[in-house]
Structures are given as structure tokens and as C-alpha cells.
């Protein structure tokens, strides 16, 4: 099993190569991805690119955590209500 290093909300962590950003967020102990219009935490829901609940900012670009594979050096930030 190969490990890769990335950061989640500024904190360095190591994850297994090949996993999605959604799985990495969940493994970090805090699976929420964004804050909703009424300020509630939301996490990946449909798991398949449909609901858009899992949108996060990866290296400055908004992407879906459930359809993005982790890459070494990625900077993952949870997103606010955008």
C-alpha cells in the first residue's frame, strides 16, 4: 500500500494512494465538506457526482470530493456556502 501526503484544512496528512478526496476527508475524522445556506455542516451524500454536497476547494479550484482522486501535495479546503 503506497501512501501519499497532502493537506486538509492546512493540516498535513497521509492517505492511501487511489482513494477519493471524500474518503480522505472522512478518514480525517471530520467528514463534512461544506457549510450550507443555513450554516449546517454537509458531507458527501450521493457518492456519485449528482448532489454536489461534497464540493470542496482543491488547490484553489472548486471540485467534487467524491469524483476526485487524491494526489500527492494536494491542498484540500472545506468550502463555505458557495
Amino acid at each position: 500500500m503506497k501512501l501519499i501526503s497532502l493537506t486538509i484544512a492546512g493540516l498535513p496528512c497521509q492517505v492511501q494512494e487511489g482513494i477519493t478526496v471524500a474518503a480522505a476527508l472522512s478518514a480525517s475524522g471530520q467528514d463534512h465538506c461544506r457549510i450550507s445556506v443555513s450554516q449546517q455542516p454537509r458531507a458527501a451524500f450521493c457518492g456519485m457526482g449528482v448532489c454536489q454536497e461534497c464540493r470542496v476547494i482543491i488547490d484553489g479550484i472548486q471540485r467534487l470530493a467524491c469524483q476526485t482522486l487524491c494526489q500527492g501535495g494536494m491542498k484540500i479546503e472545506r468550502s463555505g456556502n458557495k
Binding site: 482513494i19 480522505a24 456519485m48 454536489q52 479550484i61
Partner: protein, 422 residues
């Protein structure tokens, strides 16, 4: 911009798309297959660090990789129709158009996700959604998981949960014992399915059961379920809910295809109401991977002009159509599920619009104008599908782009504005 041209374009690399590509490739035509997931396989053959692909899936993947007239574009979404016989796509490298002569839609299906109190809490996911995450590397070591909803997919999900180290504490199936028994007694028609169900049977499976509420403050801690005549509260860290599947028809609606029974209408050769446009797999009606494979191959042959080979598969397709009919009869949803949500349960998760806010309106237009329901990031793919079931509102006509895109992609949809006004 990276513009592409091909003879046959296939949208979706699930079982239907892969079978279509393989069949069409025999004609030596140039084929492009495009899919939004990072790896091919669709919903059922989702590859990942925690997935072991069945032999059949490996066969299709290897066969397609070996073909030099098939190009697979993974991690790529179709976002709009940008001209006659031309679609606009976006991926992380940029965007572009694809010109095609024949198009085969193999867009598959998604889960029907219904609102109930607490369904927006982290820890609550779609049933197939949890399975997808497990295959993509989510570990459930030490977690207690409740699975609820309807249909054979729940059993497959329970199997994935166990393999990921989780403990399934309840598998609540809303269908009645009588309809499940009727289904089981007819299963011998499809011996493959008997073997599969025996392997997947779970001792926590309960009929006549459904979720009432997900509880927790910032995250799920317990669920309340109706189990036969009793109400139980069960501690858990995950609730995976799926109420059956619904066809992905947005792209087809955008292109003007005739829709029938909430799926793309096709003829014997899988052709839609539009010339040169075919559709196969679950976007033409939910029916499982075997049916998707048969339909995909028929569409691939038909779209590449090999009608004889397409005809040879009609009997196989009928066999799995009969299975699909038996499944849909068994797992008809109990109307009680329409009343799970309360007035303050959100229907629209993107814009946080409650059921109370929307049910006073007559239809989509009024609801959208007054509440922004259905106008958020998912473009109504979750709430409009739920409202179709809850309120009998037909899906609104999809808007372009089909999914949120970058500005650079959007610009390619509209004519360029003049550079200087004065």
C-alpha cells in the same frame, strides 16, 4: 479548448457504455466514450483501492483498453449541447466540443433519495452512495451502520459495509414480506440471481421496515425506524438510504428525446425518437447490469450499422427485461414514505428550502420563483426527483449547463460578445 471529432460518441462508461463500445468497435469506426468518474465501470463496477472487480468487469475493461479505435475520456462531464451533433464537455484539463455522427446515451441511473427529518446530517448518505465511497477507500472499521430503503441494491451495500469493517445493525426493507416471498418464489427463472441472493443474504434484513428520523446535532448518532408494528431507536454512526433507482434523463430531455415512464423511450434497436441518437442501459429504464449489457451491445451494433448482430441479442434482452419487471413489481414504494418529511424538513439541500415552503405552490415554476428550490448546485437532480415522487410534479426542463462548470467553459456556450462598445 480541445475539440474532438468521432463517428460514434458514447456517454457513460458503465456496463451499457462498455458493451456499446465493444460492439460498435467491430465496425472499425472511431469511437469516443466519455464518463465523469475517474475510472470506467459505472455504478456497479466501481474500481478503487477497496474494490475487487468481478471477472466480467475486468474482461470489458481489458477488451476496451486493447482497442485502438476506442478512446476513453474519464473524469469528463458532458455539460450541454453546443450545436447540431455536437456536445460541450469539461474536465480538469479544460473544456472542448465533441462532434459526432451517432450518439449513444448510456447515462445510467441514480438513487431516489427521499427527505425525512435529519436526512441532511453528516453520516447520512445514499445507500449506493456509501457503497461508492467504500469502493473508493472509505474504511468503516468499528462503525455501526443502518441501511434502509428498498430494492436489491441494499443487500449489495450491506455486503460492502461488512467488507469495509462496519457492522450492519439493521437492513430495513420497506417492501412487505408477501411481495418479497412472491419475488423469491419466481427467482428460479434467473439462476444467476438465485446464487447472487444466497451469497448476499443478511441476517439483519427486515421487511415492512423503514426509517422515520435521523438523530444527532452536528453528526448522526441514532436513527428511529418503524419495524413492522414497532418503533425502535438504534445507535449508529452511518445511515445509508436508497429508495430504488431513477433513470438519468436530463441530457436526453435537453436534446429533445421522447421520455416515457420517467425514462428515455427507445425502439427495438435502442434508437430514441431522434435519428442518429441511441440510448441503452438504465437511462432507458432501471433493470440491472445484465440488461444494461444486452441493451448496450444492441445499441452499439445498431449505431454502427450491424443490424444482424443487434437482432441476435433481442432474446437475451427480453429475458432480463422480464427480470426487471419482477423487481419493480416487488419493490413498489409504500405511500407512507411520502409522509416521512415534516413541514420543516428540507426538500432542497442546495438552497435549504423546506417541504413546508414548497408544498403550498402548485408546481415547479411557482416553487422556484418563490423559494429558489431546485435552482442550486445540483440543479434539482435530488429535490426535483424527490418532488416527482412526493408531489407528482414532472421534472422541470433541464437548464444548461447540466452541472456547475467553470466560467471558461460557459463562455463557449454563448456567442462571444463584441470586444469594444465605443
Amino acid at each position: 479548448m480541445n475539440n474532438v471529432r468521432c463517428e460514434v460518441l458514447i456517454i457513460g462508461a458503465g456496463p451499457a457504455g462498455m458493451a456499446a463500445a465493444l460492439a460498435a468497435s467491430e465496425s472499425q469506426k472511431h469511437i469516443v466514450m466519455l464518463d465523469d468518474n475517474p475510472r470506467p465501470g459505472g455504478q456497479i463496477w466501481r474500481d478503487g483501492p477497496a474494490a475487487v472487480l468481478p471477472t466480467l468487469a475486468q474482461f470489458y475493461r481489458q477488451a476496451i483498453t486493447a482497442l485502438d479505435n476506442v478512446t476513453l475520456l474519464s473524469g469528463t462531464k458532458v455539460v450541454a449541447q453546443s450545436g447540431p451533433q455536437q456536445l460541450l464537455y469539461e474536465n480538469d484539463k479544460g473544456c472542448g466540443t465533441i462532434d459526432y455522427q451517432r450518439l449513444i446515451l448510456c447515462c445510467g441511473a441514480r438513487e431516489l433519495l427521499l427527505p425525512f427529518p435529519g436526512w441532511t446530517l453528516p453520516g447520512v448518505t445514499g445507500a449506493g452512495g456509501l457503497q461508492a465511497q467504500i469502493k473508493n477507500g472509505l474504511s468503516l472499521q468499528g462503525e455501526r451502520v443502518v441501511i434502509a430503503g428498498s430494492g436489491p441494491l441494499l443487500l449489495a451495500v450491506a455486503d460492502s459495509v461488512t467488507q469495509a469493517g462496519g457492522k450492519v445493525t439493521l437492513l430495513a426493507e420497506q417492501a412487505s414480506v408477501t411481495s418479497l416471498a412472491r419475488f423469491a418464489s419466481g427467482l428460479w427463472h434467473w439462476p444467476e440471481k438465485v446464487r447472487q441472493s444466497l451469497r448476499l443474504m443478511n441476517r439483519h434484513y427486515r421487511a415492512n421496515s423503514y426509517v422515520l428520523e435521523a438523530q444527532g446535532q452536528q453528526r448522526l448518532t441514532a436513527v428511529r425506524v418503524q419495524q413492522g408494528g414497532k418503533v425502535r431507536t438504534i445507535d449508529c454512526s452511518r445511515l445509508a438510504c436508497g429508495f430504488g433507482l431513477v433513470a438519468n434523463i436530463e441530457l436526453a430531455m435537453l436534446m429533445g428525446c421522447r421520455i416515457e415512464n420517467a425514462a428515455i423511450a427507445v425502439d427495438d434497436m435502442q434508437q430514441t425518437s431522434i435519428t442518429n441518437l441511441y440510448a441503452a442501459g438504465e437511462c432507458t429504464g432501471v433493470g440491472g447490469s445484465e440488461l444494461a449489457l444486452a441493451e448496450g451491445a444492441i445499441a452499439g451494433y445498431a449505431a454502427s450499422g450491424n443490424i444482424a448482430s443487434a437482432r441476435a441479442l433481442l432474446e437475451k434482452r427480453s429475458k432480463w427485461q422480464r427480470f426487471a419487471a419482477a423487481v419493480s413489481q416487488t419493490f413498489v414504494l409504500n405511500p407512507r414514505l411520502k409522509t416521512l418529511g415534516t413541514a420543516d424538513t428540507f426538500l432542497c439541500r442546495c438552497e435549504d428550502v423546506s417541504l413546508g415552503q414548497i408544498s403550498r405552490h402548485k408546481g415547479w415554476t411557482a416553487a422556484k420563483l418563490n423559494s429558489r428550490c431546485g435552482m442550486g448546485a445540483c440543479q434539482g437532480k435530488i429535490c426535483a426527483t424527490a418532488a416527482r415522487y412526493l408531489l407528482d410534479w414532472p421534472l422541470p426542463q433541464p437548464r444548461v449547463p447540466l452541472t456547475p462548470v467553470r466560467l471558461e467553459t460557459l463562455v463557449n456556450l454563448t456567442p462571444q460578445p463584441p470586444k469594444d462598445i465605443n
